[in-house]
């Protein structure tokens, strides 16, 4: 059955959620004056986790490797930045639907073009579409060019005249992002276990077989592409609120590469893996940046090592720990090598 994991997965994830959620209680005691800065980092990690999770729907669940997912992340950021009034806060009640609408329409248009391509062509065309928006935004006068656009006020959440949530408060915003991440996770968990999710899983395994069974696979893939795009755009909107600006770098291909890295580090096709991956990546980044100015070397070597020795990511270690591997059908490298249908991207199906 699809995405049924050992109980320890739920235990570990809930424990982590609890630790993160009560950070405001233990953070100041542990980090003192650094606590606020750490809270900012933590908020960013939560946002990036949502972003990485949205990519998992494409890469891990459907098997569509996109190298242009930052397009939607940046689109969410710029939609917020450009639609916000200059000297007033926008209302979240219409900002969120607007971001979703803009990204859904864009994902539909881009998706219609890229879904026609397969495998490596999909990788390259998504990359090219991401770059297209990157160049459009970084040369467009209305978007502030390479400087980007500043967002003076975070959108507010009000009922009538009373503010429901004070987004400018770091704690409130942190919980808002955390709520979005949990909601996104529960949504994806429900989606992958639904009939729709099972069809996506079937497409991942063997698209031709699904077509032969009478499924219009293109339509399913397109819907998945749009959902992933909308979730990435919401993450992008939150990131723009966090930083206070939208910047072309948010939609460049390096961002797409980084989020793919978070996904692989955490373990794809598991939905919860990318959350771990985003946290692990950001923590590594933080540590490396403090170790040396030449941190990209360390990060690059980490990426290479992760690809070579940890193809199933942190989630793979939790689902099938090395010490519990003896009995499980785990000569996956050899099997994968022998059977193209069992490439590492589809290994999750053997874990039952």
């Amino acid at each position: 059955m699809l995405h049924r994991y050992p109980k320890r997965v739920a235990v570990i994830m809930l424990a982590l959620l609890a630790i993160v959620a009560i950070y405001p209680l233990w953070g100041p005691a542990l980090f003192g004056s650094q606590a606020d800065f750490i809270l900012e980092k933590l908020t960013l990690m939560v946002i990036l986790a949502l972003f990485a999770m949205s990519l998992d729907l494409l890469v891990g669940i459907v098997g569509l490797v996109s190298l242009g997912h930052a397009l939607f992340f940046g689109l969410g950021a710029y939609t917020l930045a450009l639609a916000s009034p200059d000297f007033d806060a926008a209302s979240m009640w219409w900002m969120l639907p607007l971001v979703m609408l803009v990204s859904a329409v864009s994902a539909l248009v881009v998706g219609l073009l890229v879904i026609r391509t397969k495998g490596i062509f999909f990788i390259m065309t998504t990359l090219a579409f991401g770059q297209m928006l990157f160049y459009l935004i970084s040369t467009a006068p209305f978007a502030g060019g390479t400087d980007g656009v500043f967002i003076m006020f975070r959108p507010d959440v009000t009922v009538g005249e009373t503010a429901l949530l004070d987004m400018s408060d770091p704690h409130t915003f942190f919980y808002f992002c955390l709520g979005m991440l949990v909601a996104g996770f529960l949504f994806l968990r429900w989606l992958t276990r639904s009939y729709f999710g099972q069809v996506l899983d079937g497409i991942h395994d063997n698209e031709h077989r699904m077509q032969a069974l009478g499924y219009a696979t293109g339509g399913y893939k397109l819907v998945a592409f749009v959902i992933a795009g909308v979730m990435a755009a919401i993450a992008g909107m939150l990131a723009a609120m966090q930083y206070g600006f939208a910047n072309p770098a948010q939609l460049g291909w390096h961002t797409s590469g980084e989020v793919l890295m978070m996904l692989i580090l955490g373990g794809m096709g598991t939905i919860f893996g990318p959350i771990l991956g985003a946290f692990a990546y950001e923590i590594l980044l933080y540590v490396y940046e403090h170790l040396t100015v030449h941190w990209p070397i360390l990060m690059g070597l980490t990426i290479i090592a992760a690809v070579l020795v940890l193809p199933r990511g942190i989630a793979g270690l939790i689902i099938a720990p090395p010490w519990a591997r003896r009995k499980a059908p785990l000569d996956d490298e050899e099997e994968a090598a022998a059977d193209p249908a069992l490439q590492p991207t589809s290994i999750k199906h053997k874990e039952g």
């Binding site: 490797v65 490596i120 062509f121 990788i123 390259m124 991207t345």
Partner: protein
Amino acid sequence: MDLAFFGVQLLNGLQYGLLLFLIASGLTLIFGIMGIINLAHGAMYMIGAYLVWDLTTLLGNFWLAIVIAVPVAVALGLIIERLFLDTLYKRDHLYQVLLTFGLILVINEAQRIIWGGDVHSVAIPAPFDASLQLTDNLQYSVYRLFVMGVCLALAGVIYWVIRHTRLGIIIRAGAVNRDMVEGLGINVRTLFTLIFSVGVALTAFAGMIAAPLTSITPGMGDSILITCFVVVVIGGIGSIKGAFWGAILIGMAETFGSVLIPSIASMVIYLIMAGVLLVKPRGLFA
């Protein structure tokens, strides 16, 4: 735009396109034969340019610098293939993308450590440091003509090797069916190492001869890599012929785009690509 100016732009587009072909041919060969997406391909272009700048300042001779730099590039390709790519052939494309993405970070930062973050330039070498008088007030650099000639000659050599030699037959067969070639008793491992080194050498060489024409900057490989991806996608991945015509098309489009419609120039090539994919999802010559 008068005729002479048009002619100059045409030559510029052709020269840029031919240079693009040199880089894209390596990219498309490596993918076509080995099934590897090499994101670090652009970084090798940059390494070529930096190597030749460094060696030219050291030795005072551009040509000598190239003679030394080419074997260095081949060796670099050899090391990368043996060290990193060897384990990836049976894996999903995703892992190749990520591993070579990691390589970009390492190579780009290594460049910063070795050569720093400054922008450099190389003087146009001696016998070609001249201009051709086209009209009364229009000149054209002889070095650009020389680059065009070298690129065309190399394109001819690549075409000849692939069409008319035993190695070419193996390469073409390998692109169609790797297992069959292996079954015929050909050492595919050696073939892969050879192809990768040649591919890296081609892009590094492109960086070397382009050095006197462009400014040598950190990260210069990243933008050219994306352009080459567009070339390869338009032409059809794995097709040398496609890489050639795709490169000429993109070279012209970028050159004329920046002259005629500067406001959207940087997007033109992506618009062309989207258009091509709408009509032919696998590229023009696939």
